[in-house]
Symmetry: C2
Subunit: 358 residues, 2 copies
């Protein structure tokens, strides 16, 4: 279904790369003095295939989905919080609302598979400033302890719906996409995916999530180990891992990320769940990662190891562990600054400034 | 001269502190899930003595000054670059121009002691978008290898002028101040100050600056050691260290920082030089540091150790080493986000979201 993808190895461009490097190095500053900001400018120039990249209509998709594995007691919060937080997003009261508004992002809240009917009755007594995007594949996944989280058909449907949403935003002019999520239980799903696809011990993948204590983490690890043992032998592709252990919000995000990259848009990855989606996308398409900017290193314990596995350098390291896309949106001004410096700063020549050793 | 200062120990407030903490913890997110952003919100609430802080008219002062110690060959750039970069600032071509514009900062370029006459002749063939603020104490410091960088009178004058500039901005409504600098040779001055005030080996304080090679760094270390040996016995107060080893831009920044803190404004510290100024300010007034937000950890090698000495947690770590206040301004959206989340996010109660274990 992703045969429309044509991801080129942008970071090995042999013509544009040296031209971008020269443009950066001629700016009125010591060589390399803007550090990571210079690297981001270079990356976005390569992604957009230009010496003068522009970021248009930044957009954040927050995919929400429920997880059958919550039945195994892997989260300190009840499943109903997923739907409550969706309503909070629609009312503008969550962290992602505050940050998206501040940073100039369009916020799209997507029901990828929440275990609730978002109908008129829920709408009572609320004032909504956003419309919910209805893309529910099912009312939550199955408990992957002993069943596949979703069917292959459901997985493909989620991937396709994510891609379609991005296509619509691309058509409306967006070329920079942030991806966030909400789903009680989804750090368990992300840790299981990471464990299998990175071949790392579960204990290095599973963390406290929304606030488990030590015993809770041990239980979460045991649940993941039991689940993976149960599905062993059927986890023979990234898509199969996604279907057996993932969530609808994660699968929809994978499809959305791949569609964005295939259009040479910038993919802003958020925290642990979002990075697990990027991991699946990278396993599905080898050329995917150069389109990603990993916005931050989360406080969720597996995230630093996942970033290291992906050879990703996060922009921020603020001890965030909220999800919703909050880290991606918080990092955006630095991404914008990278593009601005490339386009707006004077060169040594234009500003009549002497170079080193001159 | 700073008897107007009344810096209270804001971080030990016993009434406001728990009230702020409760407000933060009632937001619709897992406890502590916004990490450093929560800490910044708490700090600004304490600084402003309110549960609902507001940031007004952010302003960045870039203090420029020249250093006699450049005669000792401690920079790979010629001294004339200081005045060239000042003109670049006034024309809008430097990194700080790009970032200040993006982040909504008013930019004030101050001649604290540049070795140039900024008169009509220099103005030819340039189009300026900023006015230079003329506060020149002298045309550069003396070479501190064998003379005090400045006289006690000059040092007090620089401190007072910095404070006056902040007073004017406070009167115009600013309550958040970023501080940057430009001065060829000033990492040598800052490293010397750090060495004496932190009692750390020069080799842990002096780095590559704007791009020294290994031999250059060794020479810089030798110059600092020789200078400090020469002035030994007269470095008996923070102000004396500032006068003997500092620069006019650093001294003016110290005065400005102290004036900002004394008015309970937020002090955004930039990189290595700016942190050295904060170090001097902290040694002059024990209650100063709680007003500071250390915006980033620079790639200049001494900065990480200086931050550790000050027990400061930088917001960003992007490998910047440019100065000009660039790191402070780049970090600002996160500071603003901290205030916004505190003021705008819903609580569990207001959003009807279940709490942990509910």
């Amino acid at each position: 279904m992703f045969n429309m993808l044509d991801l080129s190895k942008v970071l090995s461009d042999t013509v544009l790369y040296p031209a971008l490097l020269q443009k950066i190095n001629q700016k009125t500053k010591p060589l390399g003095a803007l550090g990571r900001v210079e690297e981001i400018a270079l990356q976005i120039g390569l992604i957009q295939n230009t010496l003068s990249p522009v970021l248009h209509r930044p957009i954040i998709f927050v995919f929400a989905g429920d997880h059958g594995v919550t039945q195994a007691g892997i989260s300190p919060y009840p499943q109903v919080v997923t739907q409550q937080m969706v309503l909070n997003f629609l009312q503008g009261g969550a962290a992602i609302n505050v940050f998206a508004k501040q940073m100039g992002f369009e916020l799209c809240v997507v029901d990828a598979g929440v275990n609730a009917d978002f109908d008129e009755s829920l709408w009572l007594n609320h004032e909504f400033i956003h419309e919910l995007i209805h893309e529910k594949v099912a009312k939550g996944t199955q408990n992957f302890l002993d069943k596949p989280a979703m069917t292959d058909v459901q997985c493909k449907e989620a991937l396709g719906r994510g891609a379609d949403l991005v296509q619509q935003a691309l058509a409306a002019g967006s070329n920079v996409f942030a991806f966030g999520e909400m789903g009680i239980g989804n750090t368990t799903s992300a840790a299981a995916i990471m464990h299998v696809l990175c071949n790392l011990p579960v204990s290095e993948c599973a963390g406290r999530g929304a606030g488990l204590d030590d015993a809770g983490v041990q239980h979460k690890i045991a649940v993941i180990e039991q689940a993976v043992a149960h599905h062993q032998g059927r986890l023979n592709s990234a898509e199969a891992v996604l279907a057996h252990l993932g969530g609808f919000e994660i699968a929809m995000m994978v499809g959305a990320m791949l569609a964005a990259a295939s259009a040479r848009a910038v993919v802003l990855v958020d925290g642990f769940i979002s990075s697990a989606a990027a991991l699946v996308a990278a396993k599905m398409h080898a050329d995917f990662l150069p389109y990603c900017i990993f916005s931050h290193c989360s406080n969720e314990s597996g995230h630093r190891k996942l970033l290291a596995y992906l050879n990703a350098k996060p922009v921020l390291d603020l001890g965030l562990r909220l999800g919703e896309g909050t880290g991606a949106v918080l990092a955006y001004p630095i991404i914008q600054a990278a593009v601005n410096f490339l386009n707006e700063m004077a060169s040594f020549e234009s500003a009549h400034v002497s170079e080193k050793g001159a």
